[in-house]
Subunit: 582 residues, 2 copies
């Protein structure tokens, strides 16, 4: 026992008690006749005091040697503080030290262990073990642990069984790139790390394990974009004998449970929207509905004049910025520049000021009358004092651009409030998605998703029109989960593989075991997977996942702390029957 | 909603209700005028009934088409059974079917879906999704899920935080062989899959996260012995500011909690034994203490005569078999053959019958008097009616042999009772272990284990004598967990690496990050890891782990269901900058 109490729990209640604490030196203040040391552990900070009147000279000397981040063990009496600090839970007391041991010394840390540190990203990652001592990072990790416990308790309470599926599986070229693991015992062969336990959870359904979940690491060898990790964690779930409604009910329930348990926010239900509607109203399949600024499609009212750009556009679409009439010309120009950046890609932007006196002032005044513009205002829902911003072009592209602008404006206007949570089910996703480069269709969710009943024939005639019972759960503009009702018979699965360009041989080689399984009494089933890293970050009111992961990798997939990946010994390669390519 | 109830819950309470069930056909009995179908799901079996009087002809026809493992959805009325089956929870009722849908057909399964199946191991593994439908396998997986929930609840209740550590780490030649993962983005470099999160959990301690746990997959590329898996699950735990006693208390508490929650067995505390004592009394560092048969060392009483074999032996050691005097000569010969098998390796065995009349009859009567043998009986604790079995030879070897014999005898005598649980802490393990082949010492637990205070100097003079605060938790003769108090300062860690044969450069290259971390205020810490697969199997009253793993691999590390590992496409290899060795 190194301690009788933690550094976070002593209050007036313990005054007069002799206690033992252990922790790190946060700060030393040496006034000569008195020394204060702030001692920190996971639970808080307690002030230690040494003074000439009550502390031996030798103890004072020892206290003077303790530097930042030294590890101390002290014994002493809890006393009332002369000048209290009401901001600290332990702010009313201090510990008058009578015994003092340096358990370990410390070099001066490369950055300050404070809430707002002076350490840059790279340095923090190299010394992540010091970064974790900082309260924000520590609290994120504790928060993550708490969220996963809540998830497990909820699902276990609903009769779900956590089943561990294997990590050493088989590579399948479908989807993203696999990480592979050479097999020493099977020369020339490789395992793959799972991108998700998709096929295994479906096999568990075939196996009768009708409510499965697992919180599990998954792996994708993708070129890393910001805030993507090569290994990430999923809350992976599947149910048998269910329809879409059962899944929405169960996992919507989970989401509401988390909001209530964690934030005390009680929502009655999660609103729903079809994919088509989401894209039309918000330009995105993961709209942030904490705020309005819905899209107004203006083709009918903007393509009758002589403004060639709009007349030639597939879609003319705008939104109203609340209070935006107060924007200066410079601000509007900045927004125009913003949408023209290559990352957004609009060619230009039209604006309409809705003046307080009911008049309009727009960048296209010479093409449109006030009556025209009043229709625009009506369609976009613009009120007096607002600003209408309009983009035009190819439907999909212009919606995406306007959606990005909508999010940027909301950010600027403070409408994306971290403490506010607006979950949304987006339903009826397309089954297939066309790859614009190759012209080939691929599965929007994955090749195991079932088309909606009665839509199989459409696959041949109008594949893009086929819809699936596929759903995403969106929270504050982020996809936190997605799933679908699966195919559960061999014939449909074979047809699906054929439409996705698999030859029968390829399909059999890669997914034969699954199609075989479908022949032995596969029940109807469906499921969902949540991205835990993102779910936790968003529940924590943040957008970046990195500080909710204890030891993240950088954008080159490197762990800069342990310096991995690294070269391996040549006899290791030999054993694996491999050589590096020259 | 495919069902209103499961197949496990209907009783007399629901008689008269109209219900909907879904599940698999377990069995069809067709008497012509009446058909019974046993419908099975995860929760149980419910009998469906169709009869000429109350069921339409078309429904009877449909019911006749349902074969084993067909997936059905039925609607009907719960009625009282004419002939009740008190062995089944649903045995008092049946469902008179009014609507009947085949949700999916099934081929005839390759083995019977019964508690005692006719399927061999290989077939069961190939069709594991069918094997999981069998009650024993299904129950094992549900049991595992329950145990892990109990573990998490206990540890979370004690303030432990579950932190996920990375799976893509760095290869270290220490210990077993790593599985490696080639990096596409870092040419010629590899990640390794963790053999355990050892260094990361220690870094979390340096990071102030003073109570950590994680239920986590670990990986070892070892030649597989029976009942070993290349991927296995650990309950990995670490605490800071603790001494050994704190760890024994916390995780002994966990074990007692599991025994009580899961089996209703309430034990007051877990007995303790040193490593030296365990080896002396039971010949093993993981003794099964559910039964006696402790060793008696006989050197003092067996080496004074003219029996050369004993006189020349380093150790003469025996045990008393309770009631063994009734063994026939043939039985004793069989035991002698058993200890002479190469897997055991004894050269011979001496026996002493302890007759009911107080006389002795032994295989060495010409060398020893009755008085001699009565001393043997005293030392081994043999009573009248027992049989003393004695082995001799090199100390370590003969202890191991006698320990194997002890376990075999206990098995034969039914002393290893599955419903009885006897946990044991084995303490004070040697720090180092000599590799008999190379003569080099390596770490018995791992290179991060601290020598006992004050024993550092012994490392130079008598390395085999150095003891560590290292402990194993043993349950019913199986090691279910092991851990130690760790080194937490750079100098000691450097000395340890030197003694283990690392050059300073190697040590720095592989574990520089850990030794650096020790310079920034590392707290005293220690931990333990439980092998979850084995823990669950033993708590489940079984010895083999395989049926507590949903999708295990075979002894060649293959998943015969999905047929992994497998070859990968040559462009995958190219991207990884690798080629197969010719």
């Amino acid at each position: 026992m190194y301690r009788t109490h933690t550094c976070g729990e002593l209050t007036e209640t313990q005054i007069g008690q002799n206690v033992q604490l252990a922790g790190w030196v946060q700060k030393v203040r040496d006034k000569g006749f008195v020394i204060w040391i702030d001692l920190r552990d996971r639970y808080g900070i307690t002030q230690l005091v040494f003074d000439q009147d009550r502390t031996s000279e030798s103890l004072l000397e020892k206290a003077r040697e303790a530097g930042r981040e030294f590890v101390l063990q002290v014994r002493g009496e809890v006393i009332e503080r002369a000048s209290k600090n009401p901001k600290m839970p332990t702010g009313n007391i201090e510990v008058l030290v009578s015994e003092f041991t340096v358990l370990n010394a410390s070099h001066t840390p490369p950055f300050t262990i404070e809430d707002a540190t002076d350490g840059g990203e790279e340095l923090r990652m190299k010394y992540r073990y010091l970064d974790i001592r900082r309260t924000p990072v520590k609290n994120n990790l504790i928060f993550r642990s708490r969220v996963t416990m809540e998830v497990r308790n909820y699902l276990a309470g609903k009769g779900f069984i956590e089943v561990e599926t294997p990590y050493l599986i088989k590579s399948t070229p479908e989807g993203a790139r696999d990480f592979v693991v050479p097999s020493r015992m099977n020369e020339g062969e490789f395992y793959a790390l799972p991108q998700s336990p998709q096929t295994f959870k479906q096999l568990l359904m075939v196996g009768g394990m009708d409510k499965y979940f697992q919180i599990v690491k998954c792996f994708r060898d993708e070129d890393l974009r910001a805030d993507r990790q090569p290994e990430f964690t999923q809350i992976d779930c599947e149910m048998a004998f269910v329809e879409q409604e059962d899944i929405l009910d169960t996992f919507g329930g989970l989401t509401l449970h988390l909001l209530e348990e964690i934030h005390g926010i009680r929502l009655e239900e999660i609103p729903r929207m079809t994919y088509d509607e989401a894209v039309k109203r918000y330009g995105s399949d993961k709209p942030d509905i904490r705020f309005g600024m819905e899209f107004g499609e203006l083709n009918a009212v903007a393509q009758q004049g002589s403004f060639k750009i709009f007349n030639e556009a597939e879609l003319v679409v705008g939104l109203a910025v609340p209070g935006g009439n107060s924007y200066s010309r410079k601000q509007i120009d900045a927004l125009t520049d913003w949408v023209r950046r290559p990352q957004v890609g609009a060619s230009g932007m039209v604006y309409v000021r809705c003046n307080e006196d009911g008049t309009f002032k727009s960048s296209v005044d010479k093409f449109y009358t006030a009556e025209d513009l009043s229709k625009w205002a009506e369609i976009t829902g613009a009120e007096k004092g607002d600003l209408i911003l309009v983009l035009s072009g190819e439907t999909h592209a212009v919606r995406t651009q306007l959606s990005m602008l909508r999010m940027e404006l909301a950010q600027q206007l403070g409408l994306r409030k971290p403490g506010e949570f607006a979950p949304l089910w987006v339903l009826d996703f397309p089954l297939l998605e066309k790859d614009e480069e190759t012209g080939r269709f691929h599965a929007m969710h994955h090749p195991f998703t079932a088309p909606k009943p009665g839509q199989m024939e459409l696959l041949d005639t109008d594949p893009a029109a086929v819809r699936a019972n596929a759903y995403d759960l969106v929270l504050n503009g982020n996809e936190i989960g997605g799933g679908s009702i699966r195919i559960h018979d061999r014939t449909t699965q074979e047809i699906m593989f054929r439409h996705l360009g698999f030859s029968p041989e390829e399909a059999r080689k890669q997914f034969g075991f699954l199609m075989d399984a479908f022949q032995y009494g596969a029940p109807p089933h469906g499921g969902i997977a949540f991205g835990l890293d993102r779910l936790v970050a968003i529940l924590g009111g943040q957008e970046s996942i990195r500080d909710f992961i204890a030891f993240p990798k950088n954008n080159s997939g490197r762990d800069v702390m342990i310096d991995a990946p690294a070269s391996i010994a040549s006899d290791q390669l030999d054993e694996l029957h491999l050589q590096l390519k020259k």
